[in-house]
Symmetry: C2
Subunit: 204 residues, 2 copies
Amino acid sequence: MTSPDHFTVGILLFEDAEELDWAGPFEVFGMAFKDFPNRHLVTIAESREPVTCYNGLRVLPDHDFSDAPPLDLILVPGGMGTRTQKDNRKLVDWLAQTAPRCTWVTSVCTGSLLLGAAGQIDQKKVTTHWGFIDSLRKAFPNTEVVSDARFVRDGQLVTSAGVSAGIDMSLWLLGEIWEVEYARTTQRMMEYDPAPPYADSQTG
Amino acid sequence: MTSPDHFTVGILLFEDAEELDWAGPFEVFGMAFKDFPNRHLVTIAESREPVTCYNGLRVLPDHDFSDAPPLDLILVPGGMGTRTQKDNRKLVDWLAQTAPRCTWVTSVCTGSLLLGAAGQIDQKKVTTHWGFIDSLRKAFPNTEVVSDARFVRDGQLVTSAGVSAGIDMSLWLLGEIWEVEYARTTQRMMEYDPAPPYADSQTG
């Protein structure tokens, strides 16, 4: 794979998206792209109105579905909002049309549910938030849902576990799409050398 | 220290703040407070206009300086914006007035520079982004600036290293202000069991 100079990452936003699901990847790509004028990071929502996320953060999306630029990578966050958005025909249709045109299709946490609703995970290997593994298996019996992974790659589809795992996935993507050293530099600049303070807290 | 039921966390926003500096702590407190109607998380900026952060994210603050509620904990993020905000008299004065009324005064990354400009780190032990340690030492010779720590506590002042370190600090605060188990539950829900993909990337 060549190392693309022109590249656009689009992050999908919707009501009740979980903040860190998208803000972690936003930081990774934003910091990495800073000195590269042809690498773009945009947020996209159904409308240009402020989007209120699950914990109350209000964000102004850069684009709506009608004026979003062509994307090389789409990132779909999770959160409680996925439970209603999976039945939002406008969003699901947009995702079903947009994902096949992207080189990389990615999700964080329960964003996998929206990729599923848009027909993007059939016969694929994916992961999701540990608390949603069983639900996703039931909803998509033709999908192999992996537990205990920070992220899973199946071809050009990359799905991560819950919330903070989107940071790990995004750093990995930098290394895969460009170079490992590019990912390392970004990781160093954002001091992602994490030390959870209560270390015996492991995920389910 | 008693375990407070009523509690308000205020996150300061300003132009060119680094996104994850505040979005990481926002996620930690937002997720932790979700089932507690008396625990509040608000964003505060000089005005109610949208704030454009360093990587382009546009956020609508909940309050401006004139209508911010009394805070129990203030969190000051860093980012390139701190270099201009340290000379913004309105912001620095607000911080100098507000911090002494809070039980906890905290910063992430170069947010320490703004706490310093507001007179909050004199004779204190603090930390900051690894790339800013020397600058902070020069700017505040009466402050002990610690390197190689994810976060440093000095009494009720808690300062973290760069960007992602604010997540570690915020989880620690949950355990310190309430209970360790409360922090562990939050950590588990946000799957903060990080695994940086290129593990030999250590910070400077």
